[in-house]
Symmetry: C2
Subunit: 353 residues, 2 copies
Amino acid sequence: MLEHGGRLSAAALNFGIPLNEWLDLSTGIAPYGWALPPIPATAWTRLPEADDGLEIAARDYYGVASLLPVAGSQAAIQALPRLRRNARVGIVSPAYAEHAAAWAREGHRLLQLSEAGVNRALERLDVLLLVNPNNPTGRRFTPEQLLSWHARLAVRGGWLVVDEAFIDCTPEHSLAARSDLPGLIVLRSFGKFFGMAGIRLGFVLAQQGLLDQLAELLGPWAVSGPARAVATALLQDQAGQRVQRQRLLVDGERLGELLREHGLPPSGGCALFHWIACERAAGLHDFLAGHGILTRLFDNPTSLRFGLPADEQGWQRLQQALRACRSEFIRDQGGGIARSIADKSAPTYKGIE
Amino acid sequence: MLEHGGRLSAAALNFGIPLNEWLDLSTGIAPYGWALPPIPATAWTRLPEADDGLEIAARDYYGVASLLPVAGSQAAIQALPRLRRNARVGIVSPAYAEHAAAWAREGHRLLQLSEAGVNRALERLDVLLLVNPNNPTGRRFTPEQLLSWHARLAVRGGWLVVDEAFIDCTPEHSLAARSDLPGLIVLRSFGKFFGMAGIRLGFVLAQQGLLDQLAELLGPWAVSGPARAVATALLQDQAGQRVQRQRLLVDGERLGELLREHGLPPSGGCALFHWIACERAAGLHDFLAGHGILTRLFDNPTSLRFGLPADEQGWQRLQQALRACRSEFIRDQGGGIARSIADKSAPTYKGIE
């Protein structure tokens, strides 16, 4: 199993701080959202049925004609590589590591690509996979760029797979509306924007034939009844979605500003997280963890991802810790020199091909 | 996708009876059970973590040292065939059809066996798969018989897979306690006995090495947070389990008796359902559906499965419909001849090898 954010219990053990005293910024999941809508008793007791309104609500929300609910976009990530054989798969890297692991597991040939390397590699690929906005770098791809890559792949029967797990705050960048194109597969996460990661729900947007194959692999009743009931209500709540989107965008800006103010200018980010590539990421991670603040540390490139605090108390706590962090790291440098903690001469990630 | 019980919406459309007027006896899921235990808010909002107590509660309940929670035993049924290559797989048939579909999907060679045919076929098999008690026939296998088959398979690196989805009322027949044997894989369903089929939870009991492989295929966060919270509480509630077991056993007896009284002697069954093999199954199914009672019709062999009514009103309704059914079917026969509706000279299922 790969390492992931959200492993608060492990952090509590590692750093000797009780579970309920942590500020968990280690994921990119919205830390606030909806009150739980009413869930009918039958959602718990009966096998889920497909005609309960979830698909209709989701098609409206995503603006598509065909989609497949899955038990988290993770379920689609695991299953998609089973729909091709011996593919050459380019993954714009670094990216959410489960993609590469899933394609490798099924025996495909992987090419880790920098964004700049895509054009050159494209003619050799059967599948191009990227995350937009990217996790953890926050890098965005324009729809025009993606559709141009898609066109070059599709003409040879290739696929463009776009993981849009973090796109709900900026739907204008989404390819959802074009997911009826052959060879275009869009993955959406429900839990991140709606703040309901525990229910395990995501959607695959693609042509119906591909969705049918995927459904066959995933089997019946893949999504739980309570998840279906909750998501149906939230996907229909357009007013709530506007409030959530606005709040996340404002908080995303605030997080970026706060990090900059404390000598940690983000290398990238989106509404739900900011990302800092710097050589001292591990030291920063452990310093913050010592203050009961969990961030997500990445090795390659050496970097740190910050999610959003849930409330004002969390913001204040983060601010205090960042202030202490700056003092500590400046003292390390011999004091007096108010240089940036995130050494910008340090290597940020290098595209790999 | 295969046909399944529980498709009430489809029945409502087919028979023109509103959804809320049906008595659904088409599944083998306990129609009553537990009040919903408290679910912490974080079970909905955060990614599920593995150290929340579910595994401990489940190991206690099943009496095993290692197990893997999965999103319904269906998830394990879909994934298990991916752990072997080119196996010769014997399935004691008829049985829950998803098993054969899953092994066929992965390119294995299937042999549908009668119970009597197992001994002869065993030396040619890599995997023997059976459901105990069997769904839909209700047929039971003794632990001694199963362990003897297992021993013959295991010595050659073979597997015995026992789907114990309906065994919770008769745990003395379970092989759970022996699931530490190499090559023995026991599947357990949570939703059927506990009456919580909507949460999508099951368990695989087997040696840790096999569970690790399975976990890798299923990926992280396979079971939802609310499912984990609910199941942890119910698996710990030993008093509640005793009540549920007793009630289901009594109701299972009552169902068998009621069917017998109305000329429909079960060919087999268990606490959660009874099964009637007879040529007129389709006619019976449609007659009962016309009265708003949904049963599960099988083609091969021609047969009908009845689940349990939830309450006294349901029992009365079933009794009245069975009475009307008997009158109707006797009139069909020319009247006057009080013969059994379930023609016992009709072919019951034939074992196929």
